[in-house]
Subunit: 431 residues, 2 copies
Amino acid sequence: MVAASLWFTDLIVRKRDGKAVADDDWRRFVEALGAGELPDYQISALLMAVYFRGMTVEETAALTAAMAASGEQLVLDEGPYVDKHSTGGVGDAVTLVAVPWAAACGARIAKLSGRSLGHTGGTVDKLEAIPGINLSLTAEELKEQANRVGCAVAEAHAVAPADEIIYALRDATATVEALPLMVSSILSKKLAGGAPAFVFDVKAGRGAFAKEENYARELGGSLIAAAKASGRKAVAVITSMDQPLGRTVGNALEVAEAVETLQGRGPDDLLEVSAVIAAEMLTVAGIAGPEEARRRLEATLEKGEAFAKLDEMARAQGAPAEWWTRLPEAAKTAPVKAERGGYVSGLDAFAVARAANTLGAGRQVKEDVVDPAVGVVLHKKAGEPVSAGDVLMTLRYNDDERLRRSLEFARVAFDVGEKPTPRPLILGVLR
Amino acid sequence: MVAASLWFTDLIVRKRDGKAVADDDWRRFVEALGAGELPDYQISALLMAVYFRGMTVEETAALTAAMAASGEQLVLDEGPYVDKHSTGGVGDAVTLVAVPWAAACGARIAKLSGRSLGHTGGTVDKLEAIPGINLSLTAEELKEQANRVGCAVAEAHAVAPADEIIYALRDATATVEALPLMVSSILSKKLAGGAPAFVFDVKAGRGAFAKEENYARELGGSLIAAAKASGRKAVAVITSMDQPLGRTVGNALEVAEAVETLQGRGPDDLLEVSAVIAAEMLTVAGIAGPEEARRRLEATLEKGEAFAKLDEMARAQGAPAEWWTRLPEAAKTAPVKAERGGYVSGLDAFAVARAANTLGAGRQVKEDVVDPAVGVVLHKKAGEPVSAGDVLMTLRYNDDERLRRSLEFARVAFDVGEKPTPRPLILGVLR
């Protein structure tokens, strides 16, 4: 057992008493954390004190910078580099659409991504559904490809390890909601990625970490403030996550949907969020003003250049020609039908995520193995009319026992009743 | 490593959010704690949440009762039983005086006591300076002696073990000051001692845990409220602990001073605090009204019955005849002299405690070995006139290296200057 640290007790006391903790103390905290010198029980006490006392923007920036410096950090070349981050949604394939799309318009993206955990997906798991793709790029390979192709995605490994230690304690200590901890966790990994400008897609709603729009706005505002205090540019787009984005949830299914979207045949909501995120990426990177950005995005989509960029990226990372025709498919399908007619008055993103993950699309714990082929296809979304007996969704599965358990979630995902009031998809943009 | 507990996370969330935690949940917490089922990092998060949110009197009583039930509990016979507890002072020999004194007036005291830790002393260490004394009484022996002699003191061993686990985390997590944790720690051990009535001596000042009188009042009030909610009677006496009580700090020295006090030759301040505590013990136990209690105490002191009771208790527990003439004495003495004349404007109890403990009178960590003979004799106390060269205190020591380190504290203990405004010794009585 690690012995209690006296200077760290003093730091906890300062935070507990609402006094400012100096930048040097945050750095010392993160160094000691990385060296395994701090006992869990002291870290937890600090996390709870932060929950109650918060942190100033300066404190958050100091902690975040130290966390970023605790692991591997990319140093990018000069250029119109930009990065995006989603706080986590269901059916959230925006990265797969917006990254090549923005790259097709001149942005450079060297993206370190993660895997799914909990109910939300991860870009690395999604891209791994592409046959032959290599997501284990070295820093040099990632940068070289970003410079040459415009975009590249690799799995993050040794990025901000200090965050992992803190993150692992937050659930069990009821400090997940502490805003500065959330901000430093997200932003430390972005800082380590080296981009000078970020777009944060902050999801709000039943399928998001931030259930309340106001909390999402606070989180977005705090992310921007801390990013700016760290010398980066940043924009936050608050987007709705009450129901899943697009019409699929599952790794290969979402890749296919991203392909369709870049080919101009995708679902409107995924297209719209991706277009807004990509436009903000171009703007915050200084590539184009808002109108010019939107115009360029429309043009590259129409000419097929956006899709061509995704193809180029995938092939640069090892995918074969026409890889999108060779995505894995589940062996069996099961429909979930409407018991009565009316309108889809609600479609619970969280329940859909549980249904998909139970089939094997995601992980409840790190050790779970993901099945790239399985998932959910939604035939109806909120506000759409339904007749009794209509297929609401199709489960694509490989394992009967998993299907049985998945159906428990799938059956409660849809509410059919009155026509609901339409709700906006883009809830706000914070700059 | 113990895995995180989901129901316990829910308890932390409730406390964090300021919602009441049910009695059953506090019981479950203490049971799981005893079973080693809760990870330290979760307990710490709860402690910090309690620091910020507090606990209701009902919650505190439920937690305290569960902690008391986590170990051995005395069940006393019917009778005028009463117990006292000091929150910890320097030179605080009040138990050695007040317990036999109250017993000489008809009270029954079966007392479980602890050892010194940190800067304050412990009754067990003090009594162990008496040659031949046995403080390892069984519950039956303790009760039998209390019934027969009127008083008995034994070392607490398996009392409220749940408190030990929490106590061990409080320092390093900066939650020592959390009032409900303080109350449950103190009161759980008192409840386990089985008495129906308690007198709390809550020390306030430089040498006390409670530096501020207001905090001491809050602590006293909370102790009484929780004791009453637990079905016991309770009184709290707030007493000053800016300078040490009496004129000695050290185990054998304090025993000798208690003997002198019970023989009518002790220092006024120790006599006064002991008399107030003993009177409250008689009153809260229903033995006598306030005036009658004071009258009986004066009578027993004058007739030598109070001292005779201490002698009877010590001999019942194995001490030889005239044990007070055979207390251990340190081999060497070193004076600390005044550098200039004036008045003792301040005498820092904490510095004196550090000086005495460095000589070997107390423990900084549990493993330290106590030397019963060493300590400090104060020749001057606050408000007394001093000439340059006067001996302010004498250090009684056995080890030259310890003396050298002790002098660093001893030399800063006295302030000589203007005559200070006299401050009352008894700051208040809460009922």
